[in-house]
Symmetry: C2
Subunit: 295 residues, 2 copies
């Protein structure tokens, strides 16, 4: 059938997109990346944006994941509720063009008052499991604009929680009273470690953030350390929330390497075992295994 | 002497300023307000901005408080460390023009790792005490862009802590993924109460914020309730941090009435006794009593 002969996989997010040409057998043979995320493309621009993708990678069937399936994307692909594995995603693909263009659904979690959603991370998580990069039962931390803590059980996503760490850091850096202190890149240094420790022990983040500025104003901390300290403070707070339910377990940190390295470092500062998995490799494993389930 | 015959008091903040003509005896007889905060005026614009003030309120001595004395204002007035009362402020006025134009210093707090600063609130707090609106020993909550929890002992500010609640709400409403949900005005309704209770009990604010969006996406909460719920969630979190050290004490909520009413309502939801004090009245009391200390 057509998909076994190769297809284009797209990780289409809010602010950028990555396209991959997948040959028979699941090998990736070509790729592209640009800033044509769903906000830049806009509702009416997807026909042209997809034609452009095909022009660059070839005229093949398309398998797309991420915010392209959201209510601000091309065609909405309703969330699949937990527990969700690759078979549930395959059974709920949203076909934009029958047999030719499919959008992978996101995953939702709902339990009493709790509610959460993801779009895109599920391909990486379930791909990593299918490829043997992650065990069938695992706690996964997926940093990004919205960091997600995911419980994988028997190869399926059974629960998850989103912490707005990355977005908060961006808001603070771009628009807040801390902006001028946060322009330097965050690094894993002594200030980062101090921030992580404060975040792990304190439940007063909204006050600790102002202290960053006050300490600089009063000459108690160098302004050069503020970005690393604040990054550590936010990540430490995030880990306190996400990892508290499993105090002994190894944590798999999956995503973009520049973010997984920060979170893995913070986890180790907190005495946790962390293992990094490259998010792009996991995504490619996900689309390969998912494509094999397409009838 | 000159000051007893009347003066102009200015509460000069980051984004706006309020000027008052104070007659002999401390009565306010004229006032103005505009959006010429320190950011709009800029370093080089203060001569003209002050001339404009005098043109509208009269050629009198000027007593100015707020961000006008910050390192981004007209002339920096170094912080007075805690404990700070009106006598300490009077002894540390920054004279821009001898005997004619004075800037009130801010107050700083430093203890080990802790550090905090304020500019402007001190005039309200110490004025309210001098006028008998607040007891000599009190816990004061001063909501604003940066909410402050202030310990007043024997009529002096001895410690305080800033929580970035107002700024975070503004960042979320203007720039975050929650922006479209937060455009409605926050009101004291059932959703606000639910948010306050969640904030008081949870130490996972950064995760609870994303849940606001997820519950709407999954149809578990009406989008109309999101602004009030989120306001309550942030204020409840703020109160958990600020009021925990004094579980039985009455809390004086001082500032702009539209904010003190929200915080007082949240405090009452949490079973606390709250009393509101109008921040403008307190400021006018502050400049009156401070002017009497000017030699």
């Amino acid at each position: 059938m057509r998909w076994a002969e190769g297809f284009i996989a797209v990780d289409w997010g809010t602010t950028n997109r990555r396209g991959y040409l997948i040959a028979d057998g699941g090998r990736m043979t070509d790729e592209m990346e640009d800033d044509r995320g769903i906000l830049a493309v806009g509702r009416e621009g997807f026909d042209r944006a997809v034609a452009d993708l095909k022009g660059r990678l070839g005229d093949r069937p398309l398998l797309m994941a991420g915010m392209v399936g959201s209510n601000r994307g091309w065609v909405e692909a309703p969330y699949v509720p937990c527990p969700a594995g690759l078979p549930e995603l395959a059974a709920n693909l949203k076909w934009v063009v029958r047999d030719r263009i499919a959008i992978v659904p996101g995953v939702s979690y709902s339990d009493g008052d709790a509610a959460d959603v993801m779009r895109g991370e599920e391909m990486q998580i379930l791909g990593a499991f299918a490829e043997g990069m992650v065990a069938a039962d695992a706690l996964i931390c997926h940093p990004g604009t919205h960091n997600k803590w995911i419980r994988l059980e028997d190869g399926r996503i059974t629960a998850f929680r989103t912490v707005m760490t990355g977005e908060l850091f961006n808001l603070l850096r771009e628009h807040s009273i801390l902006a001028d202190l946060l322009s330097a890149p965050a690094e894993v240094d002594d200030a980062f470690e101090a921030g992580v420790r404060k975040g792990l022990e304190s439940d007063e983040l909204m006050a600790e953030l102002f202290s960053v500025r006050a300490r600089v104003l009063l000459g108690k901390a160098p302004r050069e350390s503020a970005a690393s300290y604040t990054s550590g403070l936010l990540i430490g707070t995030d880990i306190r929330i996400g990892a508290r339910a499993a105090p002994q377990e190894e944590i798999v940190v999956m995503g973009r390497p520049e973010l997984t390295s920060l979170f893995a470092a913070a986890l180790r500062i907190g005495g946790r075992t962390a293992r990094e998995v490259d998010g792009e490799e996991a995504f490619l494993a996900g689309v390969k295994h998912l494509s094999e389930l397409i009838q």
